[in-house]
């Protein structure tokens, strides 16, 4: 760090704008410029080829203001003396990581680096981060989107030979001093559920810096609709094209539209469909309405935007998406997919219109925005006005936070755990009159732990905080938790039974303090299916033994009556907490006589939909006016069967369940009739929220109300005749059932609250169910 510098930040990267393409390179470029502008020194460790490096040094660097404090190195240059690198390495990320480690160790000896920033994908910081913390400066991992996340979100096969890469990504995220997230929604929705090791106490929100590429004079008479991004399914081009074709079915929109303009280069990797397959989504007779420009640089892009009325971003996964913000701040109105990154980046209605990810909804929004000139102008104006707000330096705050954290960390890992836990518990105790229970559970969005999280008298802690993470001594973890509970005056501890070592942990608690009671938080349902069932049951074995050994001090709680039933019969005090049900969505304003049926595949031991398709066919032959049948797109046998048996006049296939609940008939019924112990399958919740009534199997929540039996709850679940009967009767009394459901849902809410009260009191098990 030079005398005049406010600090030194090192970026290690394979991307840098404009030398290489990619959003990460743009982010680092903008951040570097911002830091230099504000008096920081920046070290750029570039991992690229010699020609790219020459371009960077000789051309691109010269365009950066205050570049005298920008020090650029190339990884290969620093690794000339690296011996014994495992070349060729089976996984290129491993050799990249080894070389980066070597280069970083050299650079950190040469410069007083305050912070090293790496990106999250490919795990290239794995080897460097594996070194002792005292031997290196703080390391931040910035969330862009890991390869694992992208491949999961795009439903690409998670191949065994990628596991090493995923593991490296996960390891560096776990080892980093701090995680920089572009926004809170992205962290909460995309990262936290998949990476429980990234606890909130290590996450800083650090919105990317951005500069407009220029601004246009918005033309309200412009009539082109733009797609801007790589030609891939990851960027949602398939959705865009499908939506475009759908929108063109509307003659008003077709007349209004000049053309769809698709701007971007071909993408061969992060896409489920090739460019030619994507182009094939456009019917021949519509081909002249779509124009592909190929890749355009910013200079060439701006003239194109002059004739754009609005742009659509149907991207499936993003951390930020510079492309969207570039057009937004240029003054182009946007329609964006409702993903976390866009929720962080845009205010709905002001910054952009949101659609729900389906082509249907995007088409509707296209038509809406095409009709509404005033709205387009308002969106354009908002984007331009907002442009300056992106240029904000968060690094002084990040560095201060890291210095404080390092000081705390220096006291040792266990002390840190103890301190933070005690502090958390103390805060909770101050915030209430005392907490009744400390619960240890991984990040959850459902189940009892999620319900407890909402209670002021309960504190939910991550397992790492109490020594249930690898690398922490369990005994010391228990000591920390004991102290925390002592601070809070709490003698009850709930533990998610699915956590590795949870039963052993509970046993140590019970032995260490005779006054402590332990509540095992069981799964939400009994183990399903063929695979994994044994393992899931096995995990219950130690808890059943604990219940026998400590009959008065071990309790079990679950949303599954089947599981609590097992434990109660084995002598444990149990608590069954009913799951919360969603409100029934507004019924679609459609044809009163028509009926849409949506068949949903099973997720447990049984996946076949044959019994339901035969039921639909039977109901139709019995006179039920079924207008349309929706089937899972991948279930080709189901489609063949539905056609053979003439189950409906129109048979549709859905890839995304949401598509099946778009528009259609006023009465829509979802069939998901399976024997699984699942009070409300996820898909049924989607159906209810969309205003459709789900017909489920014998273990569903509806079994508890006599009025729903044989209608929304089919006991003889595989009997097509019984399902057909239930389908017919449900549609006949659709309105009454919708009303009954609303009351049922409110009753369940009350029961859930009472059950949680009992659980926290630890006194008695509420009775649920009954008519």
């Amino acid at each position: 760090m030079t005398e005049s510098s406010r600090g030194c930040v090192l970026f290690a990267t394979m991307e840098f704008y404009p030398t290489t393409p990619g959003g990460a390179g743009i982010l680092i470029h903008h951040t570097v410029c911002l830091l230099l502008e504000q008096g920081f020194t920046v070290v750029l460790l570039f991992d690229g080829g010699p020609s790219e490096f020459a371009q960077l040094i000789d051309v691109d660097r010269r365009k950066i203001p205050l570049a005298d404090r920008l020090l650029i190195y190339r990884v290969d240059d620093l690794c000339e003396d690296l011996d014994g690198a495992p070349e060729p390495c089976p996984e290129i990320a491993v050799s990249k990581s080894i070389r980066l480690d070597h280069a970083l160790r050299k650079l950190t000896k040469m410069h007083a680096v305050d912070l090293i920033e790496l990106y999250d994908y490919c795990g290239h910081g794995f080897h460097y981060l594996s070194r002792p913390i005292e031997d290196r400066p703080p390391v931040a991992i910035r969330l862009h989107s890991t390869i694992e996340l992208i491949e999961r979100k795009t439903r690409m096969p998670l191949l065994p030979d990628r596991l090493c890469l995923y593991a490296m990504e996960r390891a560096q995220l776990a080892l980093a001093d701090v995680i920089l997230a572009p926004g809170p929604a992205y962290y909460e929705q995309e990262i936290r559920p998949r990476y429980p090791a990234i606890t909130p106490d290590r996450v800083l929100i650090s919105p990317p810096a951005h500069r407009p590429i220029g601004q246009i004079e918005y033309d309200p008479d412009a009539r082109s609709v733009a797609f801007y991004g790589r030609l891939s399914t990851l960027k949602g081009l398939d959705t865009f094209l499908r939506a475009g074709v759908l929108a063109l079915q509307d003659p008003v929109f077709a007349h209004w539209l000049e053309q769809f303009v698709i701007i971007g280069p071909e993408e061969n990797v992060a896409t489920a469909l090739s460019e030619s397959e994507l182009r094939a989504l456009i019917p021949n007779d519509r081909a002249d309405r779509f124009r592909f420009t190929g890749r355009l640089d910013h200079a060439a892009l701006l003239p194109q935007l002059q004739n754009v009325a609005f742009a659509c971003f149907a991207n499936r996964v993003e951390a930020f998406c510079y492309a969207a913000h570039e057009l937004h701040t240029a003054g182009i109105p946007l329609i964006v997919n409702r993903i976390a990154a866009f929720e962080d980046g845009f205010a709905e209605g002001n910054g952009a219109l949101f659609f729900d990810g389906t082509a249907f909804d995007l088409a509707d929004n296209m038509k809406r925005l095409a009709r509404d000139t005033a709205l387009r102008q308002r969106l354009s104006q908002y984007g331009k006005q907002r442009a300056a707000s992106y240029w904000r330096n968060h690094y002084p705050g990040h560095l201060a936070w890291l210095r404080e954290r390092r000081a705390t960390r220096a006291e040792g890992m266990v002390d840190r755990t103890l301190a933070s836990l005690a502090l958390e518990a103390k805060r909770a105790a101050l915030a209430t009159d005392g907490i009744a229970m400390i619960a240890i559970a991984p990040t959850v969005t459902s189940g009892i732990a999620a319900m407890l999280r909402d209670r002021p008298d309960c504190r939910v802690l991550m397992p790492e905080a109490v020594g249930l993470a690898a690398g922490l001594d369990r005994g010391q973890g228990i000591a920390a938790a004991m102290q925390a509970m002592g601070n809070a005056g709490c003698r009850k501890i709930a533990i998610d039974t699915g956590l590795p070592g949870a039963a052993e942990f509970a046993e140590q608690f019970l032995q260490a303090d005779a006054d402590i009671s332990v509540f095992g938080l069981l799964r939400e349902r009994t183990p399903l299916g063929v695979g994994g069932t044994l393992a899931a049951y096995r995990a219950l074995g130690p808890w059943l033994r604990l219940a026998t050994r400590f009959p008065a001090r071990v309790s079990a709680a679950s949303t599954s009556q089947a599981l609590t039933g097992l434990f109660s019969r084995c002598g444990a005090l149990t608590f069954t907490v009913p799951i919360r049900l969603p409100a029934l969505g507004k019924t679609a304003a459609g044809d009163d006589d028509a009926i849409d049926v949506i068949v949903i595949a099973g997720t447990g031991a049984v996946s076949s939909t044959a019994h339901m398709i035969m039921a639909v066919a039977q109901a139709r032959r019995g006179g039920l006016p079924i207008s349309r049948l929706w089937l899972p797109a991948q279930d080709t046998r189901a489609v063949a069967m539905a056609r053979d048996f003439a189950a409906a006049p129109i048979i549709e296939r859905y890839e995304n369940l949401g598509d099946a609940f778009r528009a259609g008939a006023r009465r829509r019924v979802a069939l998901q009739v399976f024997p699984d112990d699942d009070a409300l399958p996820d898909a049924a919740a989607v159906a209810l929220a969309a205003g459709a009534l789900p017909i489920l199997g014998p273990a569903c929540a509806f079994a508890g109300r006599a009025a729903f039996r044989d209608l929304l709850c089919i006991a003889f679940w595989e009997d097509a005749m019984a399902i057909a009967n239930g389908l017919t009767r449900t549609t006949e009394c659709f309105g009454r059932l919708a009303g009954d459901y609303d009351q049922f849902r409110r009753d369940r809410e009350e029961m859930a609250k009472a059950a949680l009260d009992s659980l926290l009191a630890g006194s008695s098990a509420p009775v649920i169910g009954g008519p």
Binding site: L534, A562, S608, R637, P698
Partner: protein, 411 residues
């Protein structure tokens, strides 16, 4: 009263159960059945057709002395011998002995049942054109004019076509043993479509189904169909006194990887606390679960045990658990009841559905719910007398319905 010799007993078991038994086991059977009637009753419980067709039993005894069955010409000799004892005016069922469940059900349903191919070690898919030609000849020379195909393998269709080409006046019917759910599997769905086409083209006259309601579905497709429930007559006088009050039996056939899972049933035994487990066909996972949950057990087998051994094991239990998730018309529960042992089932067949007491006490609505299974099992054991009495009455009604259905099917 004729004392059976052990070689005849052993061969009868081999022919109709598909496995050889040792001389010691044959001796044991002989010792336990001093009379021919008792022996036939046991065989009837296992296979049914023997008891209702004493002539066939005699053939079996004779065939037991013919050791050359396995060789080439022996097959024809065997069929000649079998058909010689049959009434050619009587409808005759053809079944594949390799499919144990279907074979058992077929022999219970029909007075005359003939295995094609003759033994369980022969795969139906291996029957080529020469085999079809040979079986065509056997069927034509038998003089039987009405055959019932039980099961419906692909070779059966070729056999029907071959026979009808030679004699268009012979009638074929089909008994279809799969349920709705199984049609979601590739092979049954493909076969089912072929049989629907066969019905449309008049190759078969009538379809019998063992899944209740499927007949109604087929009526809508304009196919003549009759539901044929399985049943076994019971004699309440033969029930034992219920000496065993704390042993649970779980007897699985291992015929499905997803429709008959043992996990919840095994966990239920744990929840029954004072009960012990006996079981077979539990698979490696089942045995591992017994260990993981510390389920008290007397004897558990990973594999399926021979039927004869199963029938000896069931009476030494207080209750059978057959809480499976998908069935047609299951045999195990009615075999258990015929031996005086109540049996819980899942919500997956027509059994007990229209009988209030049995429905409430024996049909577990939630097949994945160990607590519910445990509660109902304890209650059924406590009320064993009531349950058996109710079952006895129920079974008489089912018998009437089944006989009536069979008459309609064969008409």
């Amino acid at each position: 009263m004729i004392r059976l010799d052990r070689s005849a007993v052993g061969e009868a078991v081999r022919l109709f159960e598909g496995h050889a038994i040792s001389a010691a086991e044959a001796d044991e059977l002989c010792a336990r059945h001093p009379s021919r009637e008792d022996f036939l009753v046991e065989l009837w419980l296992r296979r049914g057709a023997l008891a209702r067709c004493p002539e066939l039993a005699a053939v079996v005894e004779r065939a037991g002395k013919n050791r050359s069955l396995a060789s080439g010409g022996a097959e024809q000799t065997f069929y000649e011998s079998v058909f010689a004892s049959l009434d050619r005016h009587e409808p005759t069922a053809l079944y594949v002995p390799r499919w144990h469940g279907v074979a058992t059900a077929t022999r219970c349903l029909f007075r005359q049942a003939v295995p094609i191919p003759p033994s369980p070690d022969r795969r139906p898919d291996d029957i080529g054109d020469a085999g079809i030609a040979a079986y065509t000849e056997i069927l034509l020379t038998s003089g039987v004019r009405h055959f019932i195909i039980s099961g419906g393998d692909a070779f059966h269709l070729a056999l029907i076509r071959s026979v009808l080409q030679r004699d268009a006046g012979i009638r074929f019917d089909l008994v279809w043993h799969a349920n709705y759910l199984q049609l979601g599997e590739e092979a049954p769905w493909r076969l089912f479509r072929q049989w629907l086409q066969a019905a449309e083209r008049g190759l078969i006259t009538r379809v019998g189904v063992v899944k209740a309601g499927l007949d109604e579905f087929l009526h809508h497709l304009k196919i003549d169909a009759v539901a044929l429930p399985n049943f076994i007559p019971v004699d309440p006088e033969r029930y034992n006194r219920g000496k065993v009050a704390d042993v649970v039996g779980i007897w699985l056939s291992g015929s499905s990887s997803y429709r008959k899972l043992p996990h919840a049933m095994i966990a239920a035994v744990k929840a029954m606390r004072t009960f012990c487990l006996k079981g077979s066909g539990l698979g490696a996972e089942g045995l591992a679960l017994v260990t993981a949950l510390d389920v008290p057990f007397l004897q558990v087998f990973e594999d399926v045990i021979p039927h004869e051994r199963l029938l000896r094991a069931i009476p030494n239990t207080a209750i059978s658990l057959y809480v499976t998730i998908s069935e047609c018309s299951p045999m195990l529960p009615i075999e258990s009841f015929s031996l005086g042992v109540p049996c819980l089932i899942g919500p997956s067949s027509d059994l007990f559905r229209d009988h209030q007491l049995l429905r409430e006490m024996l049909v577990v609505d939630q097949p994945y719910n160990p607590g519910m299974i445990a509660d109902m099992a304890v209650a059924a054991v406590a009320r064993r007398g009531d349950v058996l009495a109710a079952y006895s009455r129920y079974n008489k009604e089912v018998e009437v319905q089944a006989r009536d259905a069979l008459v309609r099917f064969l008409a």
